[in-house]
Symmetry: D2
Subunit: 380 residues, 4 copies
């Protein structure tokens, strides 16, 4: 089962990169994004460094010089190539990175039958880590393509969009609720320890805010009314001239993985910053749910568009749960050191790999981030 | 009683400014700080605009042109002079600003006997608002003086420092706790609504971390070990070359309101950023309390150095309480629009006006802020 | 005669500062400008450091700690307070700086009767140096006042403006011309060595471009037509939204030493950057003169508005004359190290102290500088 | 002959790109540099836009959407893709750009036999324009490779370096000299009008400063002595931590087109900024020649390393020659609008295409530019 997870995860990354040319896979359009080639290599480095080197006897590192290229942020694992310069790594080539993947995959296949439990846990972590990068691979290439006046499409549109249900408020009675990961399945360290929180009664929307609803907010002057905005958000509206979501074009179309398409008023609005989500909620006479309200609402009948449309900004900042302790060693840097200055998003998006998200899953981004599939669900 | 609060508050601002020359009162050493003269004028503008103009019949605005100079951030009250340029307002002079204060004080004295309850509430708010600026006046002039190689002293040292109690852990049993402001006294809107939270059992230190303890952290290499730091904090350590608290000098002395003085190992360490507070706690095998743990701990026997030494960073980000609604009108901008990207500090400092702080009081600053009297109290 | 120069120069600085309050004298509105108080102190430090300390036996430095405050840029004379932070020096006070001036003036009076020729030369240099700062004192306070929405006037308008002569082209036959300082009078090192240059015949305007003429350029769309501009200039027009000269207000008035006044179409346009001067000249079908054409034109009959209205941008970059060698010692840093990236201005302005300018005088500023009394005279 | 120039020029660009992978050709390592693919496309767009569209009847533009991608800076030719984002154009692919080149080459072949003189002149300009980009293609890819920790080599070292002649001073008697382009051959507009200048007698070195000599300057503390530097240069030394030329590595090797190689003390030092060149000259007791001294020295016996080793910074800023008028139309933007803020370099480098340089040739870069093959020749 672990071998199946590993196999499908590794294969899925290559499948996601398949539509990309060598040149596409090289693109880095901003410091926060990374090239597709880098995602393919970094996830492989993760297995090599944390699993193969310590656990596979006789393992030969593919190229000693690459560690500094493909370490993302692990201070405990040595120096790193500067993040904003990942797009300058034309060497190694995409073909060499694919050879690296094959080398590591073969070694993992050798290790799997004899892997101790600790190695198995790290392989499982490596798979979930790679799934996270699969989503970033898509959001990052989408941002890069959005910077090209030719507006290339990552893939052709396939199926007709699914209609959302009519909007409805779902009521939750509050009370003491257990939150955080439970059970035997995999979870990231930031999803625990499971603990109890006390919630006041609340209502939450059954679905996400749509593009049509968001267009009404724009038409009503939402981007011109400072009193709707958090102070930092309004400063960005003015400094950067925000007038609509990041990928809404001047001509009324919306840019996405299928290229520029007519705005679909029924589709969930995504690529919103936390500030835009809050301003919309204020305008709509509602608010964002907290992350615990969101998690509690998962149990409500009719709670739709949970994790396959867009991540949902919550009013909760990203902080450690009571009793949270980072793991020992390099893996301890995984989540804990980012626990300030970011907001939690819950759910999942159309770019999230199947099976990756959970009700206890905590995604997080700075409030100004606009290039993710991030939308909102109202509460009140 | 309101008249007494008003009288003493207004007098205290002038007393704080008394040691400052006209030139001192002009200083603005960074965009986040304001000149003492500006604090004196802005707090006066607050009364003029929110109290006198709407409620005192026949009130004559002192100078129509000053509204744009002394409006801080109220979008609903018209255009504002750019914040980073407050230090360029040599006109009006300090003498003119004092005349402005006298003019407004006289009008407030006229209004008080006939003020309707709504005006009384705004006068009370204006007094507490002015007290906030009294603390900022001190932290801001201290920062400005720290930029002068002559290192001027704001005032002479007066009394011997009080010795802290020996460190001890106070245990709290957790449970459902009511937090937020209760009772009839004044509180800011962000202290409510009062509501219940569920706490796990915890321990909290009876006193603040001292300069001597913090010096041990430095000596142990605390500023050189990335694994102790939140990621954003470590980036600042490197980019800005942090090696010690902001006002600790190369020569072992510490700069403060009394000028440069020998480091007092028993004194609480202050002028820390949230990042430094977290790194220290990590190094000490402890953590910061949440704001609700802090508030619950106020009831514990032996909980010392509550609000007269230094503000205490908490692990809580600044967010609205359940059910929080900003007030209608300009006053609604008072707190709500800052509720993202900041951390809550609890307690009070040696620069906090007497009577200003409360157990439910929520101070807040961005995690990188280092120029406040901000220290830490450990929890575990 | 040197004593008379010294006396009048020192007195003139105080006279220029007389209209300023302590607060005004503290203002620094941008890194390129300095507070009036700083100008008063720096020019005094120059005498103290370069004249009194080496040449007056038994001279007592006024305050040892001030050297780092009032050294401008002399690497060979020790560390300096950061230039952008000059406005943060509320201490020493203006009164203390005036006492410093009196202390140094008295010592200079002691030295003068016994000064060796080398000291006399440095005193003369110190006077001309102080005259340069007298002009900067005015341009810097004007910039600071321009940042105050109250638009204070430095002084009242006194006399009626003088009408310029009708525009006429003056012809020069070119040929081999001697340029650079000649004779026994004082000159800065950058005005020599005197040398011959070869000029082609040219024509030059008898007077400066007027505000009325410049208004025509604006009305004709001059700030919207990229082909009129140097590439770097056009980048600034777009990045900073330039639409008119720096001190031309939205309401049609022009800000100056007398406050905001109606635009005088006959007055020379000033506060122009080199880029604006070039764009105007291009639009007018003319060009800027070189610095040597300008110097040669001084001998032409009818060459008006030479040095009492506005500095005149030339097409010459600031470079050493053939054979130029900086003086030995600290004085060698006076001019030579700035000889790149700046354009030469010739003439003088209404803010230039009487007797300071000469035909060989080379003023220089970066091409983007807009806060000087800098205009243009056409050539073709 | 024009057809031969066109054929060889177009072929040479492809030959230069041949060692580059699709990914290499995509790299843009800083805003001042461009991807190799972009150079290939831009030079082609130049022919298409300025030659084919106006002069070849029935010419079909290859792709209408590409004009905005490959226009460099011609304001008169429509909007442009932002320069710092050229590296984000993964589409069109390198293969598509090569097809574009073939399309345009075929059309130029059709036009050549029937081209009117005006078109012939523009084709000739297009060839020399493309040769300029051939040098930039090399300097830009070299910079990009220098940012990759793997330090890839653009090509293998081929021949042994040629030894420079022993250093000697060549004397020139000065006098009235004609400078600027003469004769019937091609020259850029900035090389004229030819005119006379007056030079004082001077001496100039027969060869460039070597790496060995420059290493002595470093060993003598050249990068630590402010008095050797122009003020702006010293500011960069401090702000950016300059300690040696841009491509001199920590380990004593030098990075270049052949990868990292041992320092060759006899080779000319290149990749210097103007500031470093000036500081070296100051340290060596000499100076940089003016551009006219350099041009006059070309006639001297023994003047070696003229145009095949490294461009040579001169003390002359880039300014129009007397009587210079930009050409009408888009071509007029070619040179004139950059005539401020840059220094002239004379000569040519090992990256300059054969036959491109001339004694009257004026290359120019900002004084801080360090990524060109730019060195120095001393004068005195």
């Amino acid at each position: 089962m672990l071998s199946e997870l590993l196999r499908t995860t590794r294969a899925h990354s290559l499948a996601l990169a398949a539509p990309l040319s060598d040149e596409d896979a090289q693109l880095q359009s901003m410091p926060d994004a990374s090239p597709a080639k880098w995602h393919l290599a970094h996830t492989t480095w993760f297995f090599e460094t944390l699993v193969l080197t310590p656990f596979l006897s006789g393992y030969r590192v593919f190229d000693e010089r690459w560690a500094r290229l493909f370490n993302s942020y692990y201070e405990s694992l040595g120096p790193r190539h500067a993040r904003p310069q990942r797009g300058l790594l034309s060497r190694p080539s995409l073909a060499e990175v694919k050879a690296y993947r094959a080398h590591v995959d073969a070694a993992l296949a050798d290790l799997l039958p004899v892997a101790p439990p600790e190695a198995e846990a790290l392989i499982e972590l490596g798979c979930h880590h790679e799934q996270q990068h699969q989503e970033l691979l898509l959001t990052d290439i989408l941002h890069a393509f959005s910077c090209n006046p030719l507006l290339p499409a990552y893939r052709d549109a396939t199926a007709a969009p699914v209609l959302p249900p009519p909007q409805a408020w779902l009521a939750h009675g509050g009370g003491i609720i257990e939150v955080g990961h439970a059970g035997a399945g995999f979870a990231f360290d930031n999803e625990g320890p499971r603990h109890a929180v006390l919630l006041a009664p609340f209502e939450i929307s059954n679905r996400l805010v749509t593009c049509g609803e968001y267009a009404d907010f724009i038409d009503a002057g939402g981007y011109r009314e400072p009193l709707l905005w958090l102070s930092d958000g309004w400063a960005l509206v003015q400094a950067q001239g925000w007038q609509r979501p990041l990928y809404w074009l001047d001509d009324g179309r919306v840019f996405g993985l299928h290229g520029a398409q007519p705005l679909d008023p029924q589709a969930p609005v995504t690529q919103l910053s936390f500030y835009e989500a809050c301003a919309y909620a204020e305008w709509a006479g509602a608010r964002l749910p907290t992350e615990f309200e969101w998690e509690a609402a998962c149990a409500l009948q009719g709670f739709a568009q949970v994790d396959d449309q867009g991540w949902q900004w919550t009013r909760s900042s990203y902080a450690p749960y009571p009793g949270f302790k980072p793991a020992a060693g390099a893996v301890g840097e995984y989540n804990g050191k980012f626990m300030v200055g970011q907001q939690v998003l819950r759910g999942g998006s159309l770019a999230t790999p199947s099976g990756h998200a959970r009700p206890s899953y905590r995604n997080f981004f700075p409030p100004a981030a606009r290039w993710q599939f991030s939308g909102l669900r109202l509460a009140r």
